[in-house]
Subunit: 214 residues, 2 copies
Amino acid sequence: MAEKSISSAVIHRLPRYYRYLGELKENGVERISSAELSQIMSVTASQIRQDLNHFGGFGQQGYGYNVAYLYTEIGKILGIDRRNDLIVIGAGNLGRAIANYGNFERRGFHIVAMFDRRADLIGMDLGNGLTVRNAADLEQYLAEHPVRMAAIAIPKTGAPEVAERLIKSGVKAIWNFAHIDLEVPDDVVVENVHLSESLMELSYKYHSRHPEAE
Amino acid sequence: MAEKSISSAVIHRLPRYYRYLGELKENGVERISSAELSQIMSVTASQIRQDLNHFGGFGQQGYGYNVAYLYTEIGKILGIDRRNDLIVIGAGNLGRAIANYGNFERRGFHIVAMFDRRADLIGMDLGNGLTVRNAADLEQYLAEHPVRMAAIAIPKTGAPEVAERLIKSGVKAIWNFAHIDLEVPDDVVVENVHLSESLMELSYKYHSRHPEAE
């Protein structure tokens, strides 16, 4: 599979294809044309053909796409055809929201441990089989459980230090909710969720569409 | 200001410029060259010049950018030079994380009410001046308080109905955390935060960088 050559724009769209194909599959749809998929997803049919051609051989003229096959293949490309364990640093509302988000588990992501340094949170039973661990024990935990993915859900001031500790303990993928850009070595990947920035984009869209608004 | 012609890619980068310029301003930096800004932000200087040229006249050859001025102007473009009220639907962990996220208030976003339909959450004091209201009272609240922005932080099954109710009550901007694409009229804008999809992108990046991983 020629994964290396896929642009980040295509990669960005893959989870959405995966979501729609999953819904079609659940509804018993076996095959779908790019025109039909185009209508459901509000994307042009040519965009869909172009995107899915990157993975070759899924679509056939006059037949369309095999939904289950395409769903499985995109899952493989996204690396979610296997179990992915992750730990969460920060047991505040955001960390708990992440830990309790049932959708992740359906996609093969398992949150196996949760850490915080706040004494009032350490030991808290999260009701999903997890108890908040002391952040001081992070290195020991990762030495015993070589987890490679971690979510950082703490304020930005503490995030760079936590990221450094995670990386030293072998973490290779950081899901960063702290409002700061982390500096990481080449073999570590970061995906940012900057909520403030998303809200500012909403604000831009709103005010440019409604210039009369206060 | 020629806002209409700015591409969505540039808009997507503006909040990050805003964040860095805000930090520079806080640190007392008065002016900065595109080369310096480039180094801090890990973006090419030509990209910075190209992006900021959309707003015209901020940079001067041999002088660089006036940090405070550029910060203010980008804030205006993003519509955060004024107060923006929003309500939050869903008082679960995610909704509470949004409601307690102090950074928003610094950017002029004020969460003025929070709603849920779960009896065990209605009436809950969130400790930030907010008490969870009954979702059944949404229309009445919006009739009395014409808020135009709303965050939807509930499971996807209920999200389309809630969006419809919000829109009927005059909401024009939806910050959507539900894992579904909302259908909205032309004058309503949506910004999605699809956490599962972000996590799948992290997974892709990780597995493509580390193909040897299990």
